[in-house]
Symmetry: C2
């Protein structure tokens, strides 16, 4: 070994050797690297996907200290730059890291458990939600669809635009829940209210929708009033844990990621209290194929308090209350497309984001969107839609054909 290392040091600069070590840790992605001194080289054989420019030697030490935080911080600060297709670069990088980690199980599982021990209190949850969702509605308006749906879209066919695919998602969720006019729906974590309003307007149900974010609730109320839906839709600015209404349908799209593993039983108990014996529920959440702690940089900069569960971990919501899981669909490729569409929109308005915040913030969010798309593309992240019901609810349809209108 010593001889090998010495030979490597002789043949290349010390800096190049450090880069190679770092990239070996990242599974030898097929990229090239350009250093601050103009040195350019590539690691894997073949045509590199893109070139990673490293602007100062300090970056190498940041990457060695913590690859995830190091890359996130240095990219945000402009000390790393990607020459070429940024999303393709992130896919290549993520695929490499994921493959490298493929054989470990107990380590990530244990770290996931340790991470899970941290409980999101009511106050902390409000703080965390504020961090992400109260950035200002104007910011999200820049790059989301018109309805402001900030969750995975459903590209029923590949021709759909993001706008259309978000409506398809809303309808896909409603069809899975088999909404009937007059039913009472509780929504936990309603974002800017798009699903609540869609359910009320197109399926004739009454909705009580909870959200901790002041900015989002204010916006949702304005929109519901403008659409004349104030009677059918009530937006409550409060934590999901304060939900007490009885309902026929429980739905939560994109909230579980913020709940934290330690609160899954609390969530299950809440649904158990609220849901009618012949009721039905749906939880839509980012997930993983196996337990693992959150990405450190995402946790630090984007989603404090977040946890992305495996299906085995999600069982803690349903199994203690003997909910029957009726249907799980994995929409992973749809979220890769959704994030790619967001990134495209975002790149078009990047200058305005810099004006609203600053360069570092703008780059941070660009990395987050590209990285998320890459994570779904490579299977590092999944998107689960779980439909469930009380164990002895026999009023449900025999097949899922109703989810695919036009069939039979």
């Amino acid at each position: 070994m010593r001889v090998g290392i010495r030979r490597e040091l002789e043949a290349r600069s010390f800096d190049q050797t450090l880069v190679r070590w770092i990239l070996r840790f990242a599974g030898n992605p097929n990229i090239s690297v350009r250093l601050w001194n103009g040195d350019e080289f590539q690691i894997a054989d073949g045509n590199p996907v893109a070139c990673m420019e490293i602007h100062d030697r300090g970056v190498l030490f940041e990457l060695m200290r913590s690859p995830s935080i190091g890359f996130g911080e240095c990219y945000s600060q402009g000390r790393i730059e990607i020459d070429g297709n940024f999303r393709a670069f992130m896919v290549e990088l993520t695929a490499g890291v994921t493959k490298r980690r493929r054989r470990s199980h107990y380590g990530p599982k244990l770290r996931s458990l340790i991470h899970a021990a941290r409980v999101n209190s009511l106050a902390l949850s409000r703080h965390n939600v504020h961090h992400h969702y109260d950035l200002g509605n104007d910011f999200y308006k820049l790059w989301l669809d018109d309805r402001m749906v900030y969750t995975c879209a459903y590209f029923e066919d590949s021709e759909k635009t993001l706008e259309e695919a978000q409506v398809s998602k809303l309808d896909h969720v409603c069809r899975k829940l088999q909404l009937q006019p007059g039913q009472k729906v509780v929504e936990a974590g309603c974002g800017w209210g798009a699903l609540a309003m869609h359910m009320a307007e197109h399926y004739g149900v009454d909705v009580i929708a909870y959200n901790n974010s002041h900015e989002q609730v204010r916006y949702a109320r304005e929109r519901a009033a403008a659409a004349g839906l104030e009677r059918q839709v009530t937006f409550v600015e409060d934590d999901y844990r304060t939900i007490s209404e009885r309902c026929d349908v429980f739905v939560s799209v994109g909230m579980l990621e913020h709940v934290g593993l330690a609160n899954y039983r609390t969530l299950g108990a809440l649904i158990d209290r609220c849901l009618a014996p012949d009721g039905i529920g749906l939880i839509h959440s980012i997930g993983r194929s196996h337990p693992a702690p959150p990405d450190k940089w995402i946790l630090k900069r984007i989603f404090p308090g977040g946890h992305v569960p495996s299906l085995g971990e999600m069982a803690a919501i349903f199994e203690p209350y003997q909910f029957t899981v009726l249907d799980i669909e994995n929409l992973r490729p749809h979220y890769a497309k959704t994030c790619a569409a967001w990134l495209e929109n975002y790149d078009r308005v990047a200058d305005r984001v810099v004006d609203m915040y600053d360069e570092t913030f703008a780059r941070m969010w660009r990395l987050y969107l590209a990285g998320s798309s890459a994570a779904f593309e490579t299977g590092t992240m999944q998107l689960y839609q779980v439909v469930f019901a009380p164990q002895d609810n026999n009023s449900l349809p025999m097949t899922r054909a109703h989810q695919y209108p036009g069939s039979h």
Copy 2:
């Protein structure tokens, strides 16, 4: 309390009081009871579903010692008789027991874990499989469909007969797997070979199918030869753990129930070794909404070595190998209908079963079929079809519309 008990004893016979205690443990089902001395009474208000005749006092002690084994043994021996619709009686009884247990979680979970510690060795597995499946093909021919499919059927519409619904199930599985001509399929636990032959004949794939049961494999080979499918379908009489072939598709319908929790990682590792990177798999298994040990009587008389997992427990197959779960469908109501159809067939040939075996055996199987139908009807048991793939397989369709031909 003492005064209450004394008053009860005064008002009723000691035997009646025992019965009431036993039935309170069973969640006060809406049935009436007739004792050996002609005493008849009912527990719950309303029109009883059926009458349970208890033919001797010893039955009461058997029921108190172990409700599940006591009921199973006494019914098999004819010491308990049901006057009225047997299946409806079993549904009422099972619903009561299930409701009574509803609030406990850690107890059943712990007992499930303890049960799981018992590993099914190769020799033990062969013994267990022999116990159930080598009863003789003639026995199963009496009450299964023509294809001898001994797993949950798929009643796409309620008009389907059992025969038709079994074909629908085979096609539903094949559509979920998106079989392509020329693909290589490994089947673990193939019963009498119906799925293997259906896949080969109608989807043009090559199948290697494993089964530990000598009787079943012999029969499957004969049928494949008669159908001219010997080249496409190979039946191997061996344990699933000896599978070593590489394949595009892995499928296992109704075997997991016999694998035992302690072997789930072994099964996952096996699939990981066999399945191509762009492959796909399906596991179809009876399940539960929450972890619990098997029913004691079923374990003793019907399925030695069996374990019926919750989805959380099934995660042990997929998560260590980072398989992505793509799709889970719960076919619980279909299995209630399937078992009811089997019971109907069985009751028509009960005399012949008595001739082949004896009265006790015939009653034992009647109880097993009626009890299974009741377990699915009441949500005590579930039927999960889990479709999975290697984490980074991006060659899969975006939606599940292909499972519902005629849609879009």
